[in-house]
């Protein structure tokens, strides 16, 4: 029983550490930018707003951006952790597997062909695109071999990217603003449009929370799970629907951002072991830290402009992916 108590205390320490990291990341994200604010003025803007220039920057510019970053980060981290649990594939991730780009393609095609520009309608298109991407990748890749799945994801993603480029070439006028969105960025996200996405985020998170227990049972193996009264097929389907909801909403908000959902579940598993309830919860809390830190880094490295967070995630995430691959037992020979 000594082991169990130690594990529990380790988890508590991890939880506290991640919450502290999240608070620090939020403060950094509000403080950094082309106009750098001190901690005092950040806190002043947040809790004692009285209309000074710095307060306006905090409330109208930095705070919405940071909030969007937190919610999108949670969604992507949760989607990655869910996907890894559902496919039992350590390198499953909605960005890497072309799902985010499926959602992006649906949005681009919808606004180009059907002239849909209302965010409330675009989100449904994005959801459809995300499901289409999920389905394509899982049928082409199969769920067994991590390598085949990743290649299928990259291939599907390349098609979506190519089609998006085709729309841009045909209709440069309409899609000029799409170009920046397609990189993946937290700039200029107004909270009014974002509000329409909230039901999708909430639905995805609730399904994920409900699935945490059944996913633990499934991890014991198909037959054992059935013996214990779980229904693996239903759990998997619900899991993929949740992944679709979360990735679609995140993509509709910020464009396709990769790798957030790949890295954090791995780090979390190192800390808290395989219990999916903890992995899902801590992934959701730690992914925003990663996303916000990358966003801040992009603003610092790119100043006076900024490097979009999607670009930063590609670079940081790709390097992390190298490390993950080098750890994989399945690939080691």
């Amino acid at each position: 029983m000594v082991g169990t108590t130690r594990r529990t205390s380790l988890r508590t320490v991890a939880l506290i550490g991640i919450v502290i990291a999240l608070v620090v990341a939020i403060l950094l994200s509000i403080g950094f930018g082309s106009n750098r604010l001190s901690l005092a003025s950040v806190l002043h803007g947040l809790f004692a707003y009285d209309g000074t220039a710095d307060d306006v920057v905090v409330r109208d510019d930095r705070l919405p951006r940071t909030l969007v970053g937190v919610v999108v980060g949670m969604a992507l981290g949760l989607a990655g952790a869910l996907m890894q649990a559902v496919t039992r594939n350590p390198i499953a991730e909605p960005g890497l597997l072309g799902i985010n780009h499926g959602a992006a393609f649906a949005i681009v095609a919808g606004s180009a062909l059907l002239s849909v520009h209302d965010p409330d309608q675009l989100i449904w298109l994005a959801f459809g695109g995300a499901l289409l991407g999920t389905w394509l990748v899982s049928v082409i890749g199969g769920a067994i071999s991590p390598i085949r799945l990743v290649l299928a994801g990259v291939a599907v993603q390349a098609v979506f990217v190519g089609l998006n480029q085709a729309f841009q070439v045909i209709n440069t006028h309409n899609l000029d603003q799409m170009r920046f969105w397609l990189v993946g960025s937290l700039v200029n996200r107004d909270l009014a449009g974002f509000a329409g996405l909230v039901p999708f985020f909430v639905a995805g998170m609730v399904i994920a929370a409900v699935l945490a227990g059944p996913l633990n049972v499934i991890a014991l193996g198909e037959d054992t799970a059935r013996g214990l009264g779980a229904n693996p097929a239903v759990t998997r389907l619900a899991g993929m629907v949740a992944v679709g909801l979360l990735s679609a909403a995140a993509t509709a908000a910020c464009g396709p951002i990769a790798f957030v959902g790949l890295m954090t579940p791995h780090l979390v598993r190192l800390m808290v072991g395989q219990d999916e309830r903890w992995v899902l919860a801590l992934s959701a809390l730690s992914a925003p830290v990663l996303l916000l830190i990358c966003d801040v880094l992009g603003r610092v490295l790119g100043s006076p402009g900024e490097i979009q967070v999607g670009v930063m995630m590609d670079i940081v995430g790709g390097i992390a992916f190298v490390l993950v691959v080098r750890r994989l037992k399945a690939v080691r020979r």
Binding site: R148, A155, V311, D314, G318, V322
Partner: protein, 337 residues
């Protein structure tokens, strides 16, 4: 395994007929493509002019358009051959250089040169070659403790490719507006304005690289059956694998330097060739002809399909890639996978 027959050598009658038909299709597409543009020409006119009997105006039009079409042929051939080598080395039908990062490396080298030095063909070519080879060195170094086993190459390639894609976007964000526009067009994969300055270096590169790959065709076929079998029949597995990898990267770099990173040709062409010849193994010669026909066809379609705008060849190729994936899907379904 079936018993060894002339088919396995890759020179049976079906392969020869396939290659002949593909060559004929390519020639027809070349003639059609040369006849397409602001000054249209009938196929008969094009043939007559090529034979040296056209009017002066027709002669000028044909010599103006011919290099572009020939660049398309060579780019297709180079990418397809590189794809066949990669897919055999990785033992994976999806393991083509554009999927696993080598093309992205060439692209990074290319845009770095466009943004930092200038956009003359030779400079971009040097950048693409340097980027491609550097990427290979990095991926090989990352694989180092375990050797160049196929599964690691694939995954590390995807990872390195993501990093490079990020670097590419960063370079574009940082560049001036004109340079960024030029680099963006190049990144999609385009053949517009490709003249003799592009064609000659590409032709020289292929004249060296293609025979070098074909000479190693037998060793490649043995590698596909597994390292143990290849070693057993006397192939120096490690050396041949590295040599072929470098040759394939050089082919990709040459093609990328000429036309930008045209996607999916390296992925599709070897698969189509395999289905046409119904042979296992790399199908090097047939792949070359499929690739050439595909790129010329994609370029021709890009000029014809929309009256309002010209589609870059890379966009058409990506769409073809989509069609191919749907095909894979249907095949996978039928097998009940």
């Amino acid at each position: 395994m079936t018993t060894p027959t002339p088919r396995e050598v890759g020179l049976d009658r079906r392969t020869i007929v396939t290659v002949a038909i593909l060559a004929a299709v390519t020639v027809v597409l070349i003639v059609l493509s040369v006849g397409t543009g602001d000054y249209p020409m009938t196929p008969a006119d094009v043939v007559r002019t090529l034979a040296g009997n056209g009017t002066k105006a027709q002669y000028l039009v044909v010599t103006g358009r011919l290099p572009r079409v020939l660049v398309a042929v060579l780019v297709g051939a180079a990418l397809a051959l590189a794809g066949a080598v990669f897919q055999t080395l990785t033992r994976n039908p999806l393991g083509s250089p554009d999927i696993i990062g080598f093309t992205t490396g060439s692209a990074t080298g290319g845009i770095a040169m466009i943004l930092l030095v200038g956009s003359t063909p030779s400079v971009v070519a040097l950048g693409a070659l340097g980027g491609g080879l550097l990427t290979t060195v990095v991926i090989m170094a990352l694989c180092a403790p375990h050797g160049l086993s196929s599964s690691r190459v694939v995954l590390l390639g995807v990872a390195v490719s993501a990093v490079l894609a990020g670097v590419n976007s960063y370079l574009l964000v940082k560049a001036s507006k004109e340079n960024a526009a030029r680099a963006t067009v190049w990144l999609v994969g385009d053949l517009a304005g490709r003249d003799w300055h592009y064609l000659v270096p590409l032709a020289v590169a292929l004249a060296i690289l293609v025979p070098a790959v074909l000479v190693n065709g037998r060793a490649l076929r043995m590698l596909e059956m597994g390292d143990e079998i290849a070693t057993g029949v006397g192939v120096a597995v490690g050396r041949v694998r590295v040599l072929l990898l470098v040759l394939a990267v050089a082919l990709v770099a040459a093609a990328t330097a000429a036309a930008g990173p045209v996607p999916f040709i390296a992925l599709i062409a070897p698969q189509v060739a395999r289905r046409l010849t119904r042979l296992p193994g790399p199908n090097l010669v047939a792949s070359v002809f499929v690739g050439a026909a595909l790129v010329v066809a994609a370029d021709y379609l890009g000029q014809r399909v929309l009256s309002s705008s010209l589609l870059p060849v890379g966009v058409v190729a990506a769409t073809l890639g989509g069609v191919y994936l749907v095909f894979l899907l249907l095949v996978g379904r039928r097998r009940g996978a």
